[in-house]
């Protein structure tokens, strides 16, 4: 039984609108970033120019390049550190029976509900105490508050679903827990680790409030803050072309990641919610 024609047409029209609204703003940012001078101030729906002046202007200053490296550094270290801390913790939480396990998991999970602003003044004090103010390590350190609970939660659920038999043989052979994690679990865990690692990377790359508060000089900033602070001498001189070029530069890697790892990201995003 085939659905009537109007239904098919209506459905594809709906899909068309969904795609258009999702893609258009980014498309328009790219289009704007390729315009210069007067062209910027005419509303165009289709690309008219192919002018890389804005990109040149952003990348030639040097500071923006440094800021991109800052972001890459912070996001990468955050991923490595949170995966390391979470894998060991998830092993204990999922494979070893001990009292207070459920409560502990609940406590860890509840941290992900903390509004960032609620820890901001306390964290500011801690970061100054450790002498980390205006250092990239302040971000690596503070980002643990949102990457750890999520990573621990997803990896624990994943490990719990692996069969018991796989580690029994290793225990019989007298392998230590650390060896079991490294030799038995790590090879099986990589799908879950790729997922959580990607989400942690994206989260760290996009974070704004901590980066705005804990860094104070231009050369230390990460890209979201850098973009937010680009301004002209007056309201009428805001360099929109430059802002759009910078936006496209920092967003392209993310869009590429999303397109390549679509399935993994979707499964990671829904893991916490649906299984909860």
């Amino acid at each position: 039984m085939k659905p009537p024609l109007w239904q098919t047409v209506g459905f594809y029209a709906l899909v068309g609108i969904i795609v258009l609204q999702a893609v258009f703003p980014f498309y328009y940012a790219i289009l704007t970033s390729l315009e210069d001078g007067q062209a910027l101030f005419e509303v165009n729906y289709l690309p008219k120019a192919l002018n890389f002046a804005n990109y040149q202007a952003m990348l030639s200053t040097g500071v923006f390049g440094k800021q991109i490296l800052n972001s890459v550094f912070v996001a990468t270290v955050v991923v490595i550190l949170s995966l390391f801390l979470a894998v060991t913790a998830a092993f204990a939480l999922s494979r070893i029976q001990f009292r207070g396990r459920g409560l502990l998991l609940l406590t860890v999970l509840s941290v992900s509900m903390f509004p960032q602003i609620a820890v901001l003044s306390g964290l500011f004090e801690v970061i100054r105490y450790f002498g980390l103010f205006n250092s990239l390590w302040s971000l690596v350190f503070s980002y643990m508050i949102f990457t750890l609970p999520f990573t621990v939660w997803v990896l624990t659920t994943f490990m719990r679903n692996l069969p018991v038999e796989i580690e029994e043989a290793a225990i019989m052979d007298g392998a230590s827990s650390f060896t079991i994690i490294r030799r038995v679990f790590l090879p099986l865990m990589w799908p879950a680790m790729v997922t959580t690692g990607l989400l942690a990377f994206i989260h760290a790359w996009n974070e704004f409030l901590f980066a705005l508060t804990f860094l104070s000089t231009d050369s230390q900033r990460t890209v979201p803050v850098a973009i937010a602070l680009i301004s002209g001498r007056s309201e009428f001189e805001i360099p929109w072309g430059n802002i759009m070029a910078a936006s496209v530069i920092v967003t392209l890697p993310l869009v590429a990641l999303v397109l390549v790892f679509q399935r993994k990201i979707v499964s990671g995003l829904t893991a916490g919610a649906v299984k909860g």
Binding site: V23, L106, I117, L120, T213, W240, I243, L269, V274
Partner: protein, 315 residues
């Protein structure tokens, strides 16, 4: 019994190693979450300032509420709870959370239902839908700020050629439309997240239910109302709560898209303003503490209501 002895020794040593493995994660979380939260709450009862944090002295609930007697029979209330700007930001936050989450749920449901169908190019559509979610919040705020520009913005151009408005609107600058602009950007950016969560719920509904309904000739709309919707309700609820908690702490979009306006200032923005811009560290901490309380209450209610399954044992 040598065998049970060996086993209990093994389980004891495993319990010990469990705590050893948990320690680094727990210590980290303590230092970045529990301790700072405690200090924020403490600061809210002191006279701490940005430069003199360590010399903070206890002042009771003065940051929250204080009655100052002027001595001539008149007096006034001071403090957060007597601050009209604070209540305005509470109202803004609630308005923002309610409206954005409602729209995101409806749009998310529509997109999820569309993606749940089999059709050619579905993988492409799903990838496209994810793009707004992947774009950093700051970048989307800037992209939309440009699209909503009063003179050169494409939105005004579109609306004017469609005849929806007769003259350009200063979306982000005018107090009447600032909140609408913020909502527009947030709904655009977060609907994909909602759609994905609901889609995951849809995919867990067994397919034979639809087969049965189809054979019985039940109209599609009633199948949706009576079968699909009740079955995906738990997934939708979880998504709504997740998003609501997120929306209540909104900061980035408001801070970048509409800085310094009473029309959109939310609780987070209000708190940060006082903490770092106005040098009212203790007062800002009090605002942070209140926001935390609100969110904690909602979270606890939610966990109690759904009795989340944490041990991995299904009842």
């Amino acid at each position: 019994m040598a065998k049970t002895d060996a086993r209990s020794r093994l389980s004891r040593s495993r319990t010990r190693s469990a705590w050893l493995f948990l320690a680094p994660m727990l210590v980290t979380l303590f230092v970045v979450a529990a301790w700072p939260l405690g200090r924020t709450i403490w600061f809210s009862f002191t006279d701490a300032s940005l430069d003199l944090m360590s010399q903070a002295r206890w002042v009771g609930i003065r940051n929250y509420l204080e009655y100052v007697d002027f001595g001539d029979g008149e007096g006034r209330y001071y403090g957060l709870l007597a601050d009209a700007r604070w209540w305005r930001s509470v109202w803004n936050t609630i308005l923002f959370a309610t409206v954005s989450v409602s729209f995101e749920t409806v749009f998310g449901l529509i997109i999820a239902l569309a993606l749940h169908k089999q059709f050619r190019g579905r993988a492409f559509v799903r990838a496209a839908v994810l793009i707004p979610w992947a774009i950093p919040t700051i970048v989307s705020a800037k992209m939309w700020a440009w699209m909503l520009h009063d003179q050169f913005g494409i939105i005004n151009d579109m609306f004017m050629s469609l005849g929806l408005i007769s003259q350009p609107i200063a979306w982000t600058a005018s107090p009447d439309t600032a909140m609408i602009a913020v909502l527009m950007v947030d709904i655009w950016k977060t609907t994909p997240f909602m759609a994905l969560l609901i889609l995951a719920g849809l995919q867990m509904v067994p397919g034979d239910i639809y087969e049965a309904a189809k054979l019985d000739g039940v109209p599609a709309w009633r199948v949706f109302r009576r079968v699909t919707l009740p079955l995906i309700m738990p997934a939708v609820l979880v998504a709504v709560v997740f998003r609501a908690l997120d929306a209540l702490r909104v900061f980035d979009i408001v801070y970048v898209l509409t800085p310094n306006t009473d029309a959109t200032r939310t609780m987070s923005v209000y708190a940060r303003e006082n903490l770092f811009d106005f040098d009212q560290f203790a007062y800002g901490s009090a605002a942070s503490t209140l926001l935390f309380l609100v969110i904690a209450l909602i979270t606890i209610t939610f966990i109690m209501a759904t009795r989340m399954d944490l041990e991995g044992k299904r009842a």
